[in-house]
Subunit: 128 residues, 2 copies
DNA sequence: CTCAATTTGAGATTTGACTCTCACTTTCTA
DNA sequence: TAGAAAGTGAGAGTCAAATCTCAAATTGAG
C-alpha cells in the first residue's frame, strides 16, 4: 500500500510543469519552493517509485548526470551544446534505428544524442 | 619522455584484439592473462596516456560505466545489453540524424545507443 | 477516531570509479 | 653501464551520487 503524501504530490507537480529533464538536486530544489524541508533522500525515493510506476522516465546522456522527466512527454532525443552544456529537445526521430541491431538481439529502447553548438553559441563563435 | 614497458605493451595489445569496447576492469582482467600482477592503477594510467596520444577513444554510454576502444576502429554505434551489461558494436549508421537539429545548430558528433537484450540473454529468458 | 503501516528528514554510510602515495623496479640516454 | 627519469603494484584516499537508518510524523482502512 502506498500513501499519498504532500511530498509526492509536490514532486509529481514538479515533473508536470518541468519543460526539460531535471537532475535529482534540481528536482529537490524546485520542490522546496513548495515544501522547504523536503530531503534529497525523499526525492530519490520518489524517483524510484515514479519510475516503477512508469510515471517518469530516466534520460541518461553521456557526460551528464542522470536526468528525469515526465513520461507524458513523448519520445524524443537531445542535443547537448558543448559550449554552454545545456540540453535541448530534438523534434522527431529517425526511422530504421532498430534495424542496426544484429540478428537475435532484442531492442527495447534507443537514444540519439547530438553534440555540437546551439544556435546562440554558434553565433558567438567569432567573438571567442 | 615515456618509457615503453611490458605493461603498456600488454595493454595496447588488449585494445588491438578487443572486438568490443571494454571497461577498465575488463581491460585489467584481460591483460592479466599475460601479466598476472598488473594493477588496476596501471590500467587507468595507461588509459590516460593512450587517450592523450589518441591511440584509444572513450565510449561513454548512458547507463553504463565508461568503456574504451582502439581509435583505429571507425565510426560506429552501440548496443547495450540490459541483462549482462556488455556493449556490442552496431554495424552501419543511420542517415538523416543531423537533420534532427534545429535551425542554426551546428552538429559536431552524434551517438546512437540501442538498449535491450543481446542474443545470448534473449535466449535464456525462458529459464529465468 | 484509532492505530498499524508507511513515509519522512537528516545525517551517516555505502558504493563505485578513479587517483594518489610510496617504496621499489625498469627503461634508456649519455 | 651508470643513474636520472619514468613506471609499477597495492592499498589507502578521494569524491560525488545514491542508499540506509531511525526516531518522529503522517496516512488512511476499518
Amino acid at each position: 500500500m502506498m500513501y499519498l503524501t504532500p511530498q509526492k504530490r509536490a514532486l509529481g507537480a514538479v515533473f508536470e510543469r518541468a519543460s526539460r529533464p531535471l537532475t535529482p538536486p534540481e528536482i529537490c530544489e524546485e520542490a522546496r519552493k513548495e515544501l522547504p524541508t523536503l530531503g534529497l533522500a525523499t526525492v530519490y525515493r520518489a524517483i524510484k517509485q515514479f519510475l516503477a510506476e512508469g510515471q517518469i522516465r530516466a534520460v541518461e546522456v553521456p557526460g551528464a548526470a542522470p536526468h528525469y522527466e515526465s513520461a507524458a512527454r513523448h519520445h524524443h532525443h537531445f542535443f547537448v551544446c558543448c559550449e554552454c552544456k545545456r540540453l535541448f529537445d530534438l523534434i522527431g526521430c529517425v526511422r530504421g534505428v532498430q534495424s542496426l541491431a544484429p540478428q537475435g538481439f532484442r531492442v527495447r529502447q534507443h537514444e540519439i544524442v547530438l553534440y555540437g553548438e546551439c544556435a546562440a553559441c554558434a553565433n558567438q563563435e567569432g567573438a571567442l
